[in-house]
């Protein structure tokens, strides 16, 4: 047997005109823990989906050699038959079913079509012992915490006689103890000869446990390094080493006095009320200022924004929101809007638009009161408003009655922005304002953001793309594991610096 268990060569994967992976290569040696690092959107998860057959053979270019043989997987079942098991970030467990039922789901221990419960529970117990989970196999999965659920997933993988285990962000949702336990378990599996590929944003964990690190950036393999003696700074340099082009419209900042201050903001997860998703965050915004909020997946950026905006996320929210020197009540969405706060969601289709309704009615949706008297809407005024935004923002649509579901991503985003601009907010929170938008439309969105700031409004931009924050913002906060770990002005900001703050965990 060769030393290399997996070789991926020249993998190229395109989605509707966007190249997600470009000639990516990856070589994994038998029995090692191989970490893959990269920014959000670098192509890590896509690469793993290609490997596991989620993107079937034929939808990508390049070769996959597993155990020296070429592979052509058409689905997850194919790859699992060969011993490749992927554990996704969002766990794929049926919460109402017991641990044992989940372990053998689709792979039931049965005799002539009837489940053999004794064998099921007996074998389940053996698997749980192997991953060090002291729980009864008949316990419903919902009664376990996320850390233990993660172990159930690994046990499920072991039940399929796994030889290559892929973990996508396994510790992102875990607390320190659970993370430690998981890493110890991976260490143990390595000594049993199981090869692991782990995708992680937590560079401290990567340098501690991995044997080899591969860095991806913008869908390309940048480098593969031995992890021994590797510093986090060295990995970051590979992750961000990219030059900024002229992708941003010019702007002269005119920053005024403070308008909004969020003080000591703490939010708990609705799923695990004892886990802090946002932990004592304090930040300020000034008139005419564009402020960035940087953070990796799971750092709590969206959770912070949505909890401020009418408690739309989280439980056990505490902290104060001070506007123009006075504390304001943002416990309801209506209250937040009335106090001049607007929140543009990262998922415009789910949270931003009524896709079956036209542009006109979407634009007016958050401020119908401004267009109505005594409860009756003046549709002609509404049309005029929608038409005004269509022209001023360059929303490309045949008419303002066109359903928004038929517009392109960039135009949909402009409709959502128009909706919030019509509420005439003092503070706009824009969550991933350019996600899934092509380069030309991005430039237009940046121009709109600049205009909003020039009108004396404060803008808080949440983005996974560091170059975007650097190109757009006057000041950037870094968020890591729910805490503000750094604040950098435009002059001092570099991608390396921000990435250091963003990966600064509380444990490492």
């Amino acid at each position: 047997m060769s030393d290399e268990i997996l070789v991926m060569r020249g993998i190229t994967k395109r989605f509707a005109g966007v190249t997600a992976l470009h000639e990516v290569s990856l070589t994994v040696r038998r029995g090692e823990i191989h970490a893959i690092c990269g920014e959000n959107g670098a192509g890590k998860s896509t690469l793993m989906k290609v490997l596991s057959g989620v993107h079937p053979h034929g939808t990508y270019e390049g070769d996959i050699l597993f155990e020296g043989e070429p592979c052509a997987f058409n689905g997850v079942r194919d790859s699992e038959r060969r011993g490749i098991v992927i554990i996704h970030q969002e766990l794929a467990l049926c919460g109402q079913l017991s641990v044992a039922e989940n372990l053998f789901l689709g792979n039931e221990r049965a005799r002539r079509g009837f489940i053999d419960w004794n064998r099921t529970n007996h074998e389940a117990q053996a698997l749980l012992d192997r991953v060090g989970l002291r729980e009864n196999p008949t316990t419903p999965v919902n009664d376990l915490g996320v850390g233990k659920q993660q172990l159930v997933e690994i046990a499920k993988a072991l039940s399929k006689e796994v030889s290559l285990l892929i973990l996508d962000e396994p510790t992102a949702a875990l607390n320190d103890d659970d993370s430690q336990h998981l890493l110890d378990l991976l260490d143990g599996l390595r000594s049993e000869g199981i090869t692991c590929v782990i995708i992680s944003h937590k560079l401290g964990e990567v340098t501690r446990i991995a044997d080899t690190v591969t860095v991806l950036r913008d869908g390309r393999t940048i480098e593969t390094l031995p992890a021994k003696g590797l510093s986090e700074e060295r990995i970051i340099a590979g992750m961000v080493g990219r030059d900024l082009e002229h992708r941003f419209p010019p702007r002269t900042p005119d920053v005024g006095e403070e308008i909004l201050r969020i003080v000591d903001w703490t939010v708990h997860s609705p799923a695990q009320p004892d886990r802090k998703v946002v932990d004592g965050a304090t930040l300020t915004l000034r008139r005419g200022e564009i402020v960035g909020l940087a953070g990796l997946m799971g750092a709590g950026r969206t959770e912070l924004a949505m909890s401020v905006f009418g408690r739309s996320y989280g439980v056990g929210v505490s902290g104060r929101v001070v506007k123009d020197g006075r504390e304001i009540d943002t416990r309801t969405v209506r209250g937040a809007i009335d106090h001049g706060i607007a929140y543009v969601s990262e998922d415009r289709k789910r949270y931003g638009l009524n896709l079956i309704d036209g542009v006109q009615r979407n634009v007016s949706a958050a401020a119908l009161g401004k267009l109505s008297s005594r409860g009756w809407v003046n549709e002609n005024e509404e049309y005029t408003v929608a038409e005004r935004f269509r022209r001023s923002m360059g929303i490309r649509t045949s008419s303002v009655s066109t359903p928004t579901g038929t517009l392109s991503g960039g135009n949909q985003q402009k409709v959502v922005l128009a909706k919030w601009m019509f509420t005439d907010p003092d503070v706009l929170i824009l969550d991933e304002p350019t996600r899934g938008i092509d380069v030309g439309a991005k430039y237009e969105i940046y121009s709109i953001i600049n205009d909003l700031a020039a009108q004396g409004r404060a803008v808080l931009v949440i983005s996974s793309e560091l170059p975007e924050l650097l190109g757009l913002c006057d000041r950037v906060y870094a968020l890591s594991e729910g805490r503000i770990t750094g604040e950098v002005s435009r002059e001092e900001a570099t991608q390396e610096r921000l990435m250091q703050f963003m990966t600064r965990g509380q444990s490492s």
Partner: protein
């Protein structure tokens, strides 16, 4: 997804008319209704459109149409109400107790009955909106509970007879206050009815004209003048044809006057009021509506209160028509009302539908019922046809949506 390019950034000049095109998905229901009417007119040798029969169709379907108005709002909001049949029975019983047993004056009794319907709606709306139980479950429970309360109230027997005023609201006709005039070969017809019909047509034409002028004033595109005139003439011909037939028979049924007022009021409410808009936005995308500051729970609650009040009105009218409140009143009315809404173009996911569409859907079923019984079809065949019509109507809607 496609990017649509506007013809020019300055938009079309205001006076330039829009190219006339029929939106089949929206107008399909009206075309279907017209075809069904023509079909049964031929099959019944014109009996369908005889004065007395037109009057019968309206009176026999009035309560289902009233329920359909409330139901379409519930369905646009993304919910369902299975309890309306039982609510009709219970409110009918309440009305009977108030008038027959307690001897309250009829306007007070009707008002209290509507209020009791609203309370029933509020009770269900509370569990749905504020407690978060799916409407299907809450109203399924309501269907049983309110039927049980009906039986308790009536003690398993009918209560009647009702006062004349309530009976004439269900069955009666406007009086011949100004006498008849001759219409040549059509014979005599009631002048008041004809004048009322003309007033409706004139009002419709005037409001459409003012709407058109206002839209032009705001620089919006409107139908070109010939199309505009054609639409008004079309509506006028249909309305006057029905009114003339009714005027030749026994004048306007009171329940038709009531229905016309409800249809107009609720159409305006759904299209032009903030409340109506909020119902559409909740049904279209609940999360987006919530994050836009729509008070989702309150709107949902009031939609069910409204449904209850309309069910109360239907209860009064149904009881008045039979001249007694019975324990089996309103059986499976909920299914007729739901079918009317879906035939009329509502979407199962919510967010889509029109009041006029639901009424047309209800009339389609009414015409099928009436026409088939005129040609002597057995009731099982009527049921079969109605079921298939519902299936075809929704299949057509799904098909046009997929093609778009």
């Amino acid at each position: 997804m496609t990017t649509k390019i506007a013809p020019s950034p300055a938009a079309a000049p205001p006076s330039q008319p829009r190219r006339f095109s029929i939106n089949l998905r929206q107008s399909g229901i009206y075309v279907a209704f017209a075809l069904i009417v023509v079909l049964f007119t031929v099959l019944t040798d014109g009996a369908l459109l005889q004065p007395q029969n037109i009057s019968n169709i309206i009176v026999q379907n009035s309560y289902v149409l009233i329920l359909a108005i409330g139901m379409i709002l519930v369905i646009i909001g993304g919910h369902i109400d299975l309890s309306v049949g039982s609510t009709v029975a219970l409110t009918g019983a309440v009305c009977a107790v108030l008038t027959v047993q307690w001897g309250l004056p009829w306007p007070v009794a009707v008002l209290l009955t509507l209020l009791s319907g609203a309370v029933i709606g509020a009770a269900q709306g509370y569990w749905i909106a504020y407690f978060g139980i799916p409407a299907f479950i809450v109203t399924l429970a309501g269907m049983l509970v309110f039927r049980a309360l009906t039986l308790t109230t009536l003690g398993n027997q009918g209560i009647g007879p009702f006062p004349d005023e309530i009976r004439s609201l269900s069955n009666g006709f406007t009086g011949g206050y100004l006498g008849n005039i001759g219409l040549g070969p059509l014979g005599g017809a009631d002048l008041v009815s004809l004048l009322a019909g003309l007033a409706c047509v004139a009002g419709f034409a005037l409001s459409q004209w003012r709407k058109r002028s206002a839209r032009l004033g705001y620089g919006q595109t409107v139908d070109p003048m010939p199309v505009f005139v054609l639409k008004i003439v079309g509506v006028a011909v249909v309305v006057m044809a029905v009114v003339v037939q009714l005027a030749r028979f026994r004048n306007l049924p009171w329940v038709l006057v009531l229905l016309a007022a409800l249809a107009l009021g609720y159409s305006l409410m759904a299209n032009n009021s903030v409340f109506g808009r909020h119902i559409y936005s909740i049904g279209g995308n609940l999360q987006a509506a919530t994050l836009s500051g729509v008070k989702v729970k309150a709107v949902t609650f009031w939609v069910f209160v409204n449904m209850g009040a309309l069910a109360g009105l239907a209860g009064v009218i149904f009881a008045g028509r039979l001249n007694q409140a019975g324990p089996t009143a309103g059986m499976s009315f909920e299914l007729d009302a739901i079918a009317a809404a879906f035939i009329g173009g509502a979407a199962v996911q919510g967010g889509v539908g029109k009041v006029v569409g639901a009424i047309t859907g209800g009339l389609i079923m009414g015409v099928i019922n009436n026409g088939m019984s005129l040609i002597g079809a057995p009731s099982e065949r009527v049921m079969l046809v109605k079921g298939l019509v519902l299936l075809v109507a929704v299949a057509y809607d799904v098909w046009t949506k997929r093609r778009a």
